[in-house]
Every structure is written in structure tokens, then in C-alpha cells.
Symmetry: C2
Subunit: 415 residues, 2 copies
């Protein structure tokens, strides 16, 4: 007689379990604890019940980049195995803004803004995940209902010393930078979300390890089964050094235009290329191994490998036709370092210092100042191939200066 | 023309202000900040509006002792100057017990128990304060209403580093003893009470300094006028070393019988006597100075000075007649080391080891075992002038042993 607490799997089920575990652990930095992770998969295969797989997100307007897709790819794998994806929008903190009122940058988001941002997530994540099978949850639903008494219970599950072990807190505490007491609640809230959502497995970057562990601890304290946690590597940005992020402007956004995406891919440092391939594409491992060998042996040129990567990204997020176009454009405009032949030339007779917006309108490259402003904000304006993002920029006119708006509109200035 | 923000006091009012400030600062360790304290008194004298004077208390069943009266005497002074006393019962923490569920000793108090304990406070404090003019507040009224959002705002007013400066937290953190995150809320709650109560001046022992400062900081953060704080010395207990407290059994309770109170006063260490006089009685300073000089010069015997102190305590908490009686009793029973003449003598023929309860019943000093037990628990049983408090005590009978029950019942044993 078998122990009724132990899963008894048929051979066929055992094969399924192995297949899931093997695939889901690919590219993962850490699974904690591995044994519990496998047990959960076993139980799911045995009962046919999908597992709840959580990913937490902050509620500010998202601009999803390739760095985020490392985790999204993993979620897609879970989804393909039939598991249930829980996208948690941390709107509670967004709705209260900065509780101390000290920071002006952390503005309070309205319900409407939160929903709007969530919609943007849905659109962007939809390029990787099947959003029809993805649940979107808002933690204000449960956190907003907690009273002081509940909050004390939550805070009581954690010691100050343990909290100060968290890397960023530790660093700030040791260097005398202030940590506000309310900040201790951010990991506690994130952990409590797992309690409220009955999460089985939480996925996140390695920088989330502390917070994911909090979920385990709090689920245990609240009498729930502890989640397993699965951390994925952080991808360095285009600078090759720091974590890819919007604020460091070292990212490839998945909503960027095909040409932008392709062009940025070409600036990935050689030594990071394979990491991007492995973590941010779904190209089979065997194929990547061959590519890597070719690079090592010198039979594949890094530039060609990178073009293939750029092509792949555009294909994933825009489609094959766009990928073909972007590749052709790159070859024409950048790789051959030639600019279009038919570029209009304008002799500048105005002020030598002129606002960028006025310049664009003056040159008929944009119809109105409003359009010009939006184009700059949208990243569509370049001077001498350098993107201009400051709508208040004042340009000093130089002979031979080349202005570019969008993909195809060029003007050369002479003085 | 005078600045309209500045109080313009008549000479008569100025005299009143000086009188209050001088009297209220007597015996005080620290007033923070002194300038604000005076300004508040000035404003009160000018407008005729009383100040809100707060004292916080924990909600467990109180047994008020002479140590507490140091603060109560100060409150009485405020009351005599017409100010408004706010007794704050910290029932919120009592009602939630230990939020972590780890400590069994911190039981949850029901509304009824809280009210009952508050009533006990009223009765005992009523011996010092005019309770008709004293407001009793319960912090569950406002703290129980706070939501997570409000709690985060509260927590955001304090940094972790500042919190860890608090003496007890600091010690525990440094020695590796765990501090639960929720514990940070106890001082925050105490401070928030001052916000909710519009407290002008908070009074407390020197061990409350951190918490009283919290009130100032939080009032400021919530846009209220900051309270001044006034700390009073802690009185050492009868052991002469540690703070007077019930748990250390080194206290004189103000609810104790006149004889007990008088007797305990006689055990105050000589070197602490003047401190008790100054802090716990309302005897005018000039009189105390004379007494102190007499003691120093040897013209007053310490025993006589102590008897006067014991007499004063009994007078304060029981009345003059009781003070006279207690003094007479002490002189008869203790000081002259003589025992009553009419003491019955019983020849003991029972076991040589006998339970104290059985012994009392056997000797007809108590009618039933239940009565005997209650008398022991009430501290009314002595053997050879030593109080017996263990209801399970087993007595080894000795020749000449003297048993005493209550004030007047004696039995001498022979074997």
C-alpha cells in the first residue's frame, strides 16, 4: 500500500513531469526549494490542476524591454504547459504615492491611470504571453482592506535584523542613508500578495530573491502552502555593465520600431550577445550551441550573429516582413554608412541658435509645433544620427548638419 | 506697535505665568523645549484656555505605586492651575494582544476588561487627581480606524536608523536579539495619540523620552503644533537600586493598607529618603530643605524622618486618622519590638511539618482553608514577623514560633 500523501504517478505522468521540470529549469539561476518545485509539478500532473504562477509588477507606466522578456519567456513556458499565470499589478503603492509626502516624483495614480497602465502591460505582454489565459490582479483589492490590526500582524512576521539583511537596505543602513520605516512594507506587501493569491510558484529576476522568499515565509505564517520560487538572470543593458532599464537608457523596448530595435541590437556588446540569445529568444538550445561554436572558431562573424539576433527580436515583436525591412534599412542606412541619395538640402538663413521644435516646423519636416514636440518625445528625431529627446533643445546650426524625422525623412542644412 | 504674533501680557498675567512655570518645573528632569513650554503657558494665561496635558498608560490591570505618583503629583499641579488632564489608555495594543501570536503572555483584552481596568485607574488615580476634571481617552478609537494607507503614512515619518537609536531596540539589535517589525509601531502609536488628542504637553518618566519626542515629531508631520514634553525622575524601589515596579516587588502601592504602607516606608534606604520626599509628596520645598539640613547635621534621626515620610504617605492615601493608627501600630509591633501582652499560647502536638493553611485553621486563627488561603494571598499572614505569601508553604514548627494574622491576631506556639 502506498502512502496516500505521496503522489503516485504513472510512467506516462512521470515523463510529463520530467519534461516540465527540465524545460522550466532551463536558464534559471535558482529554484527554491527544488524538491518542492518538483512536488508541485507532480501534483499538478497528477490532479490535472494547473499551478498558480505569479509575476509581480509595479504600476507605473510600463515600457517593456528585452530585459523583462527573460521572465516573460519563462511564464510563456509555464503557460504552454497549461499552468495559470497571475500577473500582479502592485497598484496599492501606486494609489497611495509616497506616503511621507516627501517625494514629488512618486505621484499618486488614479484608478483610471492604473487601469490604463495595466492595459499597456496587456498589450506589450501580449506579444509574449497569451493574455486570454492570463489573470490580471490588483493588490489594492486586498491590501486596501487591511486595518491597523492586520498590518501589525503582517509586520510581526518579520524581524528588523532580517529586513536589514536585504541588500539595498543593508547598504543604506551601513552608509547612513535614511530608510523610512514604511519601506519595510514593500517586501512585506509583495509577500502578502502571494498569501492572498494562493501562489504556487513566483517568478522574478535575481534581484527579487529577498522579496520572493518573503512570500514563502508569509504564506507559512498565514497557514498556506509555501510557494516555490524561481529566479532568472538579469540581463545587462546595451552598455554591457548595468542591468537593463529604462532609466539608464540602455534598453531595447519591445514596443520600439523595427528599425530602432534592429539598430539597438547591433550595439549589444559582443561578449553579451549569446546571453541575449539564450535568455531573450526562444531559439532552441542546440542551434545556439552551434552558433556559439561558430563564433568561437571564427567561422561566424560577430556582426552577422548580431544581425541575426536583431532580426529575431524584430520578428518576435513585429513579424517577419518587418524584420526583413529593418534588416534592409540597417544595411542601407547604417552598415554601409551611406545616407539616402535623395536627401533635400536647405540653405539656412535663420538664427544660428534655434529651438529644435521651431527648426523642424521651419524646414517643413513637421506640420505643427505640436506634431514636432510629439515626434521628439516619441524618439523620432535625430541630428547627425543622434536621437534628440529634449523638446526644449536649442540647436546651433552647423554646415552639413543632417536632420532626420522618422525613418525616411531627411534634410541636410548648409549655411 | 507690538508684533501681533507675540503674546502681550499684563504685569499680572506675567506673574501668573512665572508662578506656573516655576512650580511646574520643580522636580522635573527635562523640559523640551523650555521656550515652547513657556510660550504655551503664556498663551493659556492670555486666552484663558487650559492646555491639554497628556499621560499615557498601558491597559493592563494597574496597581498604582508611589513611583507612579511622581508623575501624578505633577499632573495634579497642572490641574490646580486649571489645565486639562488627558489620561490616555493604550487599549488598542491590549485589544489586539500579540499580533504575531507568538507570546502567550500578552493576552487579548476584551472591551469589558479594558473598561474594568480603566475603572481601577480612576479609583486609584482619584487619590491624587480630581477625576471629575480628568478626561479618559482610549486610543483604539482612532488607531482602530486606521487603514493600511494611513499606517504607511505613519511609518513613513520615521527612519529605521532613528528607531534603532532607542535604547532598548539598540541593545537588542546589537546583541542579536530579534526585534519584530511591528514593535516599531509602539512608539509610533504613542506619538500618534498626541496627534489625535491635540496634546500641548506630555508628561512621563525619563524612560519615556524617546516616545515623547515621537509625539512632537508626528504632530509636526501631521500639521499640528508640537507638544512640549516634560520628563520626571524615576524613583528607585525599596531595594534602592532598580526602578520601582510591581514585578520587582520593590514597591509601595497606594492601595495598600495603612500599616503595610507605613511599614514599607520604614524600609526605604536612608540615602533615598529625601528623593521620595521631594518627588512623591507635596510637602513644601522649604520644609524639606530644613529636614535635609537636620539630617546632615545629625539633629534629626533618619528613623524619625522616615516615620514622618511613612505618616505622610498614609495621610495622603488614607487620611490623618489612619496615619495616626499606622504610626501607633508600627511603634507597638515593630519599633519597640514588643509583641502584644495578651497573646494566646498554644502547645503544638501535631506533625512537626505542617502546611501553613492547615496550621492556621488548626489554631482557629482562620475559620476555613479558603479564608486562610485568601488571607495569605492578601499578605496578611506572618511568622515571626516575616510575611508569608506562598499558599503552599509547609511550616516546620519551632518552639516560640509566633503566628500573626491581620493586624491584631497573634498565636505563640510551644512544643
Amino acid at each position: 500500500m502506498s502512502n496516500k500523501n505521496e503522489a503516485v504517478l504513472t510512467q506516462e505522468q512521470q515523463v510529463k513531469v520530467n519534461e516540465q521540470v527540465e524545460a522550466l529549469m532551463r536558464g534559471v539561476v535558482e529554484v527554491v526549494p527544488e524538491e518542492a518545485f518538483r512536488k508541485k509539478i507532480e501534483k499538478s500532473v497528477l490532479t490535472g490542476k494547473p499551478l498558480n504562477i505569479k509575476l509581480g509588477m509595479d504600476p507605473s507606466a510600463p515600457d517593456v524591454h528585452i530585459g523583462h522578456t527573460v521572465v516573460l519567456q519563462k511564464l510563456r513556458q509555464f503557460q504552454e504547459f497549461g499552468h495559470h499565470i497571475q500577473l500582479l499589478i502592485g497598484d496599492f503603492t501606486g494609489k497611495i504615492g509616497d506616503p511621507t509626502g516627501k517625494s514629488e516624483t512618486r505621484k499618486v495614480l488614479t484608478d483610471e491611470q492604473v487601469k490604463l497602465n495595466a492595459q499597456t502591460y496587456v498589450e506589450q505582454y501580449g506579444k509574449v504571453l497569451d493574455m486570454d489565459k492570463t489573470e490580471i490582479l490588483y493588490n489594492s483589492h486586498w491590501l486596501g482592506e487591511l486595518k491597523f490590526e492586520d498590518v501589525l500582524k503582517l509586520a510581526g512576521q518579520m524581524t528588523v535584523a532580517r529586513m536589514l539583511e536585504r541588500e539595498d537596505f543593508n547598504k543604506r543602513y551601513k552608509t547612513g542613508q535614511p530608510i523610512s520605516v514604511h519601506e519595510f512594507f514593500y517586501p512585506l506587501m509583495q509577500g502578502y500578495d502571494s498569501v492572498a493569491m494562493d501562489t504556487d510558484i513566483e517568478v522574478g529576476g535575481t534581484d527579487q530573491t529577498f522579496n520572493l522568499l518573503m512570500g514563502r515565509q508569509l504564506q507559512d505564517a498565514y497557514g498556506k502552502e509555501k510557494q516555490a520560487m524561481l529566479t532568472l538572470p538579469l540581463i545587462e543593458g546595451l552598455d554591457g555593465v548595468r542591468k537593463m532599464s529604462k532609466s539608464l537608457n540602455n534598453y531595447i523596448g519591445i514596443d520600439e520600431s523595427p528599425n530602432e530595435m534592429f539598430g539597438k541590437s547591433m550595439s549589444i556588446p559582443d561578449e553579451l550577445m549569446m546571453k541575449y540569445y539564450k535568455l531573450a529568444t526562444d531559439i532552441p538550445m542546440e542551434e545556439l550551441e552551434m552558433l556559439e561554436q561558430g563564433l568561437a572558431a571564427g567561422t561566424v562573424h560577430p556582426r552577422d550573429a548580431k544581425m541575426k539576433l536583431g532580426y529575431k527580436f524584430v520578428e518576435m515583436y513585429h513579424g517577419v516582413a518587418q524584420a526583413d525591412e529593418a534588416k534592409a534599412y540597417f544595411e542601407t542606412v547604417f552598415q554601409k554608412r551611406s545616407l539616402p541619395d535623395d536627401m533635400p538640402v536647405v540653405k539656412w538663413s535663420g538664427d544660428s541658435d534655434v529651438s529644435l521644435i521651431d527648426l523642424l516646423v521651419e524646414l517643413n519636416m513637421q506640420a505643427t509645433k505640436g506634431e514636432a514636440r510629439r515626434m521628439i518625445q516619441g524618439g523620432g528625431v535625430k541630428i547627425n544620427e543622434v536621437k534628440q529627446e529634449d523638446i526644449k533643445a536649442v540647436v546651433t546650426i552647423e554646415d552639413g548638419m543632417i536632420l532626420q524625422v522618422g525613418k525616411r525623412k531627411f534634410t541636410k542644412l548648409t549655411i
